[in-house]
């Protein structure tokens, strides 16, 4: 007996799925922004003169890159409330707040943003570092010889070629991070996968539900790639020689 596909029930659940798609997009955007901040901060520390800071960043990068995101998000999910309790005790002990308060009971969605940001940040550190190194030292020296300030040299001379050099790997990292948001469903953060699980538990059409959101993910990542490429054509298509 051949199975009859039933996408009618999915059609009825479409408003819920589209709303959850916004949850996914929100996770992707917030996670990517946090990843960039961590990435830039990490590079500054990674190339600083402080040996412990360098060591800390290197360990962080290796630790994140060599463990699964699922284990990371579980760990952070259980670590944050404990960390918050300790922090509350500490602040109350110092007399800064009246009674111990846990500021890190933030729920699954913000927790997922933190986990995505930390994970994406570790990869961003390596990528951005490569970009800074891609600009020849002579460019810095030439700028200095023209009497420009270090910050001005960076803004006018170094920044754009460095961005251009890392653009493909950085944007594909963003796409990867967007696809990784599906794992945030494991801690019940509001996004496509957790919503799909919920809908499946009501209508018992697992294949149709999961196939539909897989198409959603495909469309999202395809659209992101188009956007990234259009941006690159607009800003980075200048001759270099």
């Amino acid at each position: 007996m051949a199975y009859k596909f039933d996408f009618g029930a999915i059609w009825e659940a479409m408003p819920q799925l589209l709303a959850a798609g916004l949850g996914t997009l929100g996770l992707a955007v917030a996670g990517s922004l946090l990843a960039i901040v961590i990435g830039i901060g990490g590079v500054v520390l990674r190339d600083s003169r402080l040996a412990p800071a360098r060591w800390l960043v290197m360990s962080f990068v290796e630790l994140i890159r060599n463990t699964p995101f699922l284990v990371q998000i579980y760990f952070i999910f259980f670590a944050l409330p404990l960390l918050g309790a300790q922090l509350g005790q500490l602040l109350a002990g110092l007399g800064l707040i009246a009674r111990p308060t846990n500021y890190l009971l933030i729920g699954p969605w913000p927790t997922a943003v933190i986990a995505l940001g930390l994970n994406g940040g570790a990869y961003a550190i390596e990528i951005i570092r490569g970009g800074v190194q891609a600009v020849p030292k002579g460019q810095w020296e030439a700028g200095a010889a023209l009497g420009l300030h270090r910050a001005t040299v960076f803004r006018l001379i170094v920044l754009k070629p460095a961005l251009r050099a890392i653009y493909p790997s950085l944007t594909s990292q963003f796409t990867l991070l967007t696809l990784t948001t599906s794992i945030a469903g494991a801690i019940a953060a509001y996004e496509l996968f957790s919503e799909a699980k919920f809908i499946d538990s009501q209508i018992y059409k697992p294949f149709e539900v999961y196939f539909t959101i897989t198409v959603f993910y495909f469309v999202i990542s395809w659209f992101m790639n188009q956007l990234f490429q259009a941006f690159a054509r607009r800003y980075f298509s200048y001759p270099t020689k």
Binding site: T67, Y74, S182, F193, Y210
Partner: protein, 213 residues
């Protein structure tokens, strides 16, 4: 955490390693097929391989596992979790290895293919004896990098219900409520497997970069 719980984790680590090894082993011939199609002269073949790669690179691995899991059941294939998860990871690996090896095949200088042509070698001999051995060397760092991704990716099999390292950690943490310790140990176990591989890949990459200079 008692000794038997650590032993349970180690036993589950075995399943993580077996799953990774089997998916990688099946992924190699399939990935080679995708790479050869992707670099072939036939337009439909190239189109098919490109779409195949696009689909797997444009969707989450977790969803690929779910769609394969329920899709195989609809096809009338009553597979246990172990087989369906293996099929899922193999298909995933075929696309990613296919893309890595396409890059490597294209990185072999064109003159090599032309010289093989001039010597009268036919397609299979040209690939097997001239292009692929060189491509293999070029692709080694990226291939090792993908193996690390795959090992980490097998943790997602836990969401489908397969008991490997991460799922075993979840089971133990649900009993003793020491989530941080358990997931810390689980993470450390993954790290001990993946880090040496990553270091090896990075070392090869530096070596090849120095040799090509």
């Amino acid at each position: 955490m008692g000794v038997d719980q650590y032993l349970f984790l180690l036993n589950s680590l075995k399943w993580t390693l077996i799953l990774s090894a089997v998916a990688f082993a099946f992924g190699i011939p399939c990935g080679l097929g995708v790479a050869l199609m992707r670099t072939s002269d036939s337009t439909p073949m190239r189109w098919l391989a490109t779409r195949w790669i696009d689909i797997f690179q444009g969707t989450p691995l977790l969803m690929q596992l779910f769609v394969v899991y329920y899709g195989l059941a609809l096809l009338g294939l009553k597979l246990d979790e172990w087989s369906s998860v293996t099929v899922g990871f193999t298909l995933h690996a075929s696309a990613f290895l296919g893309e890595i090896w396409r890059g490597a095949i294209e990185a072999v200088p064109r003159g090599q293919t032309e010289a093989a042509h001039a010597l009268g070698l036919h397609y299979w001999s040209r690939m097997k004896d001239v292009v692929l051995p060189q491509a293999l060397k070029i692709s080694l760092p990226a291939t090792i990098g993908f193996l690390v991704q795959l090992i980490k990716g097998t943790s997602l099999a836990s969401i489908v219900g397969f008991v490997e390292l991460t799922r075993a950690g979840g089971i133990i943490a649900n009993i003793n409520y020491r989530h941080l310790l358990v997931y810390g140990v689980v993470g450390l176990m993954y790290f001990c497997i993946c880090w040496p591989l990553s270091l090896w890949g990075a070392r090869l990459e530096r070596k090849f970069a120095a040799a090509s200079r």
